[in-house]
Symmetry: C2
Subunit: 384 residues, 2 copies
């Protein structure tokens, strides 16, 4: 007979999932109700409104896709891209590559504009690409690159696209709740995120928002969206106002969790949440600097919530991560792609962006790397 699963209690400072607020874990275990229950419809309305708040948008089409962030990405592409379209895709990490895959699986052509892993997307290259491809329909880029910790200038990139009449698809899976995500201010058209990063919720849902321009594009499509599950026309009929048409059974209890996560964000306030991420990032950075650990990303492009740092020479990547997990119950992330074996990714996301985690992580690294001064430097940063 198989026994019930009781997970170890970890501290999650990798690239997500991040430490989940206990309020959210408790919300998950509340009694399940039906997906057409009037009480559930009330929760859906709350979630829509709170996501509009978090995304800083008035977009009526703002809701969580019932699947992880990669389905949110796919949702944006399959709804906005048609066969034969040309899409400019900025790649400066893993997720730009996945965008290209999505474009091609829609029967469209991807024009790849590359920047180094760890660099922000270069607006000049995007400007050139837009000029060289006047028939391109969409610009897609990653605002907060989880694989490298780089933040790109979404406002500038969306502005370039808008000026040239392109729609934008923006990945901010790691951004939402940790740094400013200003969908209406940017003039972005389709933006997706995840729940397991700076919202501190469990993984499994993908908040998305579509501008009215994006909605019109979807309505004018000649060919049906290739995914039935992700067809926004059908999803809207369930999440929209008025008569709720059954589409699929919503993941009820996960939505309890997301609701609670958004209530917590509203209580704290967006600006306070961003400031908290920035503060603990600065403390962590002070500590890492004290033991000679360097960041991959230049200071002005760093995501506070995803600290991508070079593994010191002579240090065994896998061994240190395994000892952190086994001896300290602490998870940090490994490198991906060309950064595999070369970097660690230390997350300070949502509930995990706190002083206890910063000092604990620095202390564990000091011990395993046989160095001193990191905790002291962070303590000094925090002040008395």
């Amino acid at each position: 007979m198989t026994r019930s699963f009781h997970p170890p209690v970890r501290t999650l400072m990798g690239p997500g999932p991040s430490d989940v607020n206990p309020r959210i874990l408790e919300a998950l275990s509340r009694p399940t109700i039906g997906h057409l229950d009037p009480a559930f419809i009330g929760l859906m309305d709350d979630v829509k409104r709170l996501l509009q708040f978090a995304f800083r948008t008035q977009n009526s089409l703002t809701l969580p896709i019932s699947a992880p962030g990669s389905a949110g990405m796919e949702c944006c592409f399959v709804n906005l891209v048609q066969p034969g379209d040309k899409v400019i895709v900025a790649q400066n990490g893993v997720f730009g590559g996945r965008m290209k895959e999505n474009v091609e699986r829609c029967g469209a052509t991807a024009i790849l504009v590359q920047d180094d892993w760890g660099a922000a997307v270069d607006p000049h290259k995007i400007e050139d690409a837009i000029r060289s491809h006047p028939d391109a329909k969409v610009l897609a880029f990653v605002h907060a690159e989880t694989s490298t910790g780089a933040r790109s200038d979404a406002e500038t990139l969306c502005g370039l696209a808008r000026k040239a009449g392109l729609l934008t698809i923006v990945d901010t899976v790691t951004g939402l709740g940790g740094i400013d995500v200003n969908v209406d201010g940017w003039g972005a058209d389709a933006v997706y995120s995840g729940t397991q990063k700076c919202l501190s919720c469990i993984p499994g849902l993908s908040p998305v928002t579509f501008s009215s321009r994006a909605q019109e594009t979807i309505q004018k499509r000649e060919k049906k969206v290739q995914s039935w599950f992700l067809d926004m026309g059908l999803v809207m009929a369930y999440w929209g106002g008025g008569q709720r048409a059954y589409h699929h059974t919503a993941p009820i209890n996960m939505l309890y969790g997301l609701h609670e996560a958004l209530v917590i964000l509203e209580e704290e306030g967006l600006e306070n949440a961003w400031a908290r991420h920035a503060r603990h990032h600065a403390a962590l950075a002070a500590g890492l600097a004290a033991i000679g650990i360097e960041f991959v990303v230049a200071a002005e492009h760093r995501l506070p919530q995803l600290n991508c740092v070079r593994i010191p020479a002579g240090v065994d990547d896998a061994l240190v991560r395994r000892r952190l997990l086994e001896e300290y119950q602490l998870e940090i992330g490994s490198g991906l792609g060309p950064l595999a074996g070369k970097v660690w990714r230390i997350g300070l996301m949502g509930f995990a962006a706190n002083r206890t985690n910063v000092l604990f992580c620095l202390g564990a690294l000091e011990a395993l790397l046989a160095r001193t001064g990191a905790v002291a430097a962070a303590r000094e940063f925090y002040g008395p």
Copy 2:
């Protein structure tokens, strides 16, 4: 400020979600760990093995898709169907229609074979369709039709397809855990289910299983699967043995819930679970008969877990369902499609298939319909 959401405590006897076992709700709130944590890999192995047990299969490609049942359906179609293929689709309710949508969105042609809503799929019609379309590649049908409560003979239908060299796609969203689902015995090729029906788990995951023949078909595809998120080649690399390649972030806590649901099923035993569903269905049927409420489906094709019954003449459908919900906190389901307004769907799924629920539901119906004898008949069925 938005307040935390505290759902009403309902008794869920609709078409799903069904009452969730409190052990599963508690499991959901256990601490989140990373999707590449060695402890989580252990849980994934358990879930695969337990799903093989539940599906009665040795298929190595057996796992839960990280999204609801309709994504499980789409997963089967996008992986097995290629543009230009011909697919025979049996329709005897809502979900056959959705299968047709999926076929067409894959760029393939659906040959629709229709039976009345409430009837089982007629094997003779399928045999004829296979004969008339020797170039068809796939037969798709619904084993347990949630919209009507009809059970079709999966063994016979899969046998016809196999003899003619067609692959089969089988929907048993409402079947798994409530009636016999014998994937290897049937020789089915791609079978999908849901978690919120007879597994009594929360909605949001879709267990799927693919035969070795289906796996070969996927490996031989000329065109990439149109969905990146549902591409089984990529999903397998994460769920398969050996080195786990990151694909998407698994919905960790939902998988805690599914694990617990499957542990509960293993503890009870498949045959015992089927017998329990059959017994409480018979008790409910005895009670309904006593107050003149008739079933839509002929006795030999009825699903015990989904009781589709005709609304008595002169009874206001919406009013009764609203009063059940408001006065009794009891949810039953309405009719869909041509059955809208004509039937109720009373679920006895998983944890909800118990004597308390049967007697409670019959008592509430007696009261609202001003009839007597239903509870007494069910009590008599159960015996002293």
